[in-house]
């Protein structure tokens, strides 16, 4: 089953669209897709052209393609458990919330909270991602628990906050406080990062670039070889009796 959703131009393109029903599962079950625009609830067809080709018998056969201006479309792929979603442009906040299976590919950039609290599946973002990429939510104690997220560009602040499982690969740089409160999983940052891994208690984080303003409460363990490169190995966060591993290629402490 191939589903193509083309968002039409809107008079006011800044009003967010809440589209938690855009998941392969909903199309497979032939549900009526309702979305929220501002304070009203409308069928998806009121905002986008919908083309459905072929039949699907299992979730794996459902492929969704989103075109047009989707930069304000929020919660696409929430609780998704299989199939694929491909987004040609940018996508709004909370893409792939709680997803447990399937694959989301974003050819543009993603807004904040990409893959928040995800438990499985795969997200690939070719552009940049906003704040709180692959993280937990306000007040939550556990963030991403499984699956994988790959961002080719850079990400905003608080990437992978509260992460407790899964794998994250960020090709660009991260903002402030990447991997704060990390409890598990593996995060690899190929660019630079700042104040990385504050309050971590477990898990592994690699920073291939420079770790600016390193948190002072990490115990230095020595230099190790990883991937043919030399890394400074730290353990911590000691302030939190943490036993997490932080590997950084270069680092500076706050002056």
């Amino acid at each position: 089953m191939n589903v193509t959703i083309t968002f039409r131009n809107r008079t006011n393109p800044f009003i967010p669209i809440e589209a938690e029903m855009i998941t392969p599962d909903a199309f497979l079950q032939d549900k009526e897709i309702l979305v929220g625009e501002g304070n009203r609830t409308v069928p998806l067809e009121a905002l986008a052209d919908l083309v459905i080709e072929g039949d699907g018998f299992s979730i794996e056969e459902v492929d969704i393609l989103i075109r047009g201006d989707s930069s304000r479309v929020k919660r696409v792929g929430e609780y998704m458990n299989g199939g694929t979603i491909t987004i040609e442009g940018d996508i709004g906040m909370h893409c792939g919330n709680f997803m447990s299976g399937g694959r989301i590919e974003i050819l543009g950039s993603a807004e904040g909270w990409l893959g928040r609290e995800m438990q499985g599946g795969e997200i690939l973002c070719h552009g940049d991602a906003g704040d709180y990429c692959a993280s937990g939510y306000r007040g939550g104690r556990r963030g991403m628990r499984g699956g994988s997220v790959e961002v080719i560009g850079s990400v905003g602040d608080f990437a992978c906050e509260h992460i407790s499982g899964g794998e994250v690969l960020i090709h660009g740089n991260t903002g402030d406080y990447a991997c704060a409160e990390m409890k598990g999983g593996t995060v690899t940052i190929l660019g630079d990062s700042s104040r990385v891994c504050a309050n971590m208690s477990a898990g592994t984080c690699y920073v291939y670039g420079s770790a600016e303003e390193m948190i002072p409460t990490f115990e230095k363990k020595g230099i190790v070889d990883h991937d043919g490169l030399l890394f400074h190995h730290f353990m911590g966060d000691v302030a939190n009796r943490g036993r997490g591993h932080l590997y950084v290629a270069r680092y500076t402490y706050l002056q």
Partner: protein, 566 residues
């Protein structure tokens, strides 16, 4: 005036001495009357259990502390969301829901009156504003005096009359209802980083012990003839071995009021711990319950703990700090200048945890061991022990030995050696439950004269009709039906209007805030007392003229004027 006739109501009304009679109840306007006219709207109760509207004598639903709990727990706001529906506003939150969330859910359980357990006088405005948006229940505010410098100074000088005058001025100014003491002396000491170990230890800033404060407050309370007694949260909450302190506190209480108790001790479950540390922590509900049995001047409430997530919030700042050291999670600490303090942390009571399992057992034991149900009221100290939505489960546990045994089998296996609960066979009946959830509260709070807690002509028409036919279900075996029945009323009637129908609020409602105004002779009017004015000008950051809560903040209200002995 609108009239309603309830037909075939199976009424249990302990205050009027009715224990299960099929009768009709006529309502005209906001009151219950002898007879309704032909025009009355008829509601057929089909023999369903009909009780006076529920009264929660100790709950935390409004005020700055509760609100801080809300905004430090965004994760709690993700639970329990309901959409806007008819006249119902959108709600969210589980242990610290929005005001409408509290109001709708209490109403679905048949509750029509709430007593906010602790209102800091300085922050009374916020509490009253939240009362206004808790529209389906009448509200009362217990006002904190545990660290009130004016009162403590007067007590230090041995001048009880002056202490009473200060209490009278403050209650009138902040539109409070009763005197609440939270860890008397301890919260004051916490302002200086200390705590008090028990009732006979001197507090660091005044030449007083908690015992002096409690005894002084009880006497001042009776001088002012306040409807309710002193409402006490004992010292040493939550520490192993604190039951001796609790019993010692109960020993201080004279029997000086004929109509009601002289001391209301709240959430006694948290004060009935034995052992010398967490290693040998055990239940001491038996000596505490026995003490209550021999002390008719004391009424307690359970403060039952139920398993699951919740948020603890209290004016007992030092205790919350100890909890923070156990949990290492979020913690809020707050000082209210010259008056009190507070602390908040989220907790998760778990069955796998031995201490939590023992706490769960102690609350039930207190309710089962105290012989007179009028002396042990049902609460969870919402949300400290559990959110109030657990009340139906607690009722079922108290009514069914079988349910208790089934639950007991799922908790920490070592609990058995530390608590007497498995040996208790008592199963409470419908009448006792009615006492513990409304009649007892009405008497303890001294609000029967206001028409609360009973169903005779003249009473306020606050009625809860539960879809329970007491002759058709056996509560000791069919506890699931008891839980379901108490979870959702068929009708909740508040001040003569049906406010909730099968769990849904059907009108906006408008509540009343009750407050007291003791009539103090001019000599004791603190408004013009030079020493009191000086205390204000010297220490408070607020001007005395800006301190009182203006009546605009109160919306609909009722002033209880009392004659005093000053």
């Amino acid at each position: 005036m609108a009239e309603i006739l309830l037909k075939n109501a199976y009424v249990i009304d302990p205050i009027s001495g009715i224990n299960g009679e099929l009768m009709d109840i006529a309502i005209s306007g906001s009151r219950i009357v002898e007879e309704a006219s032909q025009k009355a709207e008829v509601i057929d109760c089909q023999g369903y259990l009909t009780l006076p509207g529920g009264i929660d004598s100790h709950t935390h639903t409004s005020g700055t502390k509760v609100n801080f709990g809300r905004y430090m727990s965004p994760e709690d706001m993700r639970a329990g969301r309901t959409a806007r529906r008819g006249p119902m506003h959108i709600t969210s939150g589980y242990s610290v829901p929005t005001t409408y969330g509290n109001s709708y859910r209490y109403s679905a359980l048949g509750y029509t009156t709430l007593i906010e357990g602790a209102m800091a006088p300085l922050e009374a405005r916020h509490t009253h504003e939240e009362f206004k948006f808790t529209p389906l229940q009448d509200s009362f505010a217990n006002t904190l005096f545990d660290g009130n410098w004016g009162m403590l100074r007067a007590l230090e000088e041995g001048d009880i009359t002056r202490a009473a005058a200060i209490i009278a001025w403050t209650l009138t100014a902040v539109k409070g209802f009763a005197i609440k003491l939270t860890n008397p002396g301890g919260t004051e000491a916490w302002g200086f980083g200390k705590n008090i170990s028990c009732i006979n230890e001197k507090i660091p800033t005044f030449d007083l012990t908690p015992a002096d404060i409690i005894k002084g407050a009880i006497r001042a309370n009776e001088m002012l003839h306040l409807p309710h007694s002193v409402h006490l949260h004992c010292n040493n909450l939550g520490t192993p071995g604190n039951y001796t302190c609790t019993i010692g506190t109960f020993d201080l209480v004279p029997d000086i009021n004929d109509k009601r108790q002289s001391l209301y001790a709240t959430h006694v479950q948290f004060h009935s711990y034995g052992g010398s540390g967490w290693g040998d922590f055990c239940s001491k509900s038996e000596p505490v319950a026995r003490k209550v049995d021999f002390s008719p001047q004391i009424v307690i409430d359970m403060g039952q703990v139920m398993f699951g997530r919740t948020t603890t919030m209290t004016a007992d700042g030092p205790m919350e700090f100890n909890l923070y050291r156990l949990h290492h999670d979020k913690w809020s600490n707050h000082d209210v200048e010259l008056e009190t303090g507070s602390g908040i942390i989220p907790v998760n009571y778990r069955k796998k945890n031995l201490v939590n399992s023992i706490m769960w057992a102690i609350g039930l034991e207190l309710a089962l061991l105290v012989k007179n149900p009028w002396q042990c009221l049902l609460t969870t100290d919402n949300p400290n022990g559990a959110p109030f939505v657990k009340y139906p489960e607690i009722i079922a546990l108290l009514m069914s030995k079988q349910y208790r045994d089934a639950e007991f089998a799922t908790i920490h296996p070592d609990t058995e050696k530390r608590v007497p609960l498995p040996a208790l066979d008592r199963e409470l009946n419908w009448h006792e439950i009615a006492v513990m959830t409304r009649a007892g509260q009405a008497r303890a709070l001294g609000i029967i004269d206001l028409g609360k807690g009973y169903l005779m002509p003249g009473a306020e028409a606050d009625i809860a009709i539960y879809p329970i036919k007491t002759d058709e279900i056996d509560p000791s075996a069919e506890y699931e039906k008891v839980i379901a029945g108490f979870s959702r009323t068929e009708y909740t009637i508040k001040r003569g209007r049906v406010v909730s129908r099968r769990g849904d609020a059907i009108i906006d409602g408008e509540n009343t805030t009750y407050w007291v105004k003791p009539k103090v002779p001019a000599v004791y009017d603190m408004q013009h007392d030079p020493a009191f004015i000086e205390l204000f000008e010297r220490y408070y950051t607020v001007r005395m003229s800006n301190y009182p809560v203006q009546e605009e903040y109160l919306h609909r209200n009722y002033c209880i004027e009392t004659e005093t002995d000053l």
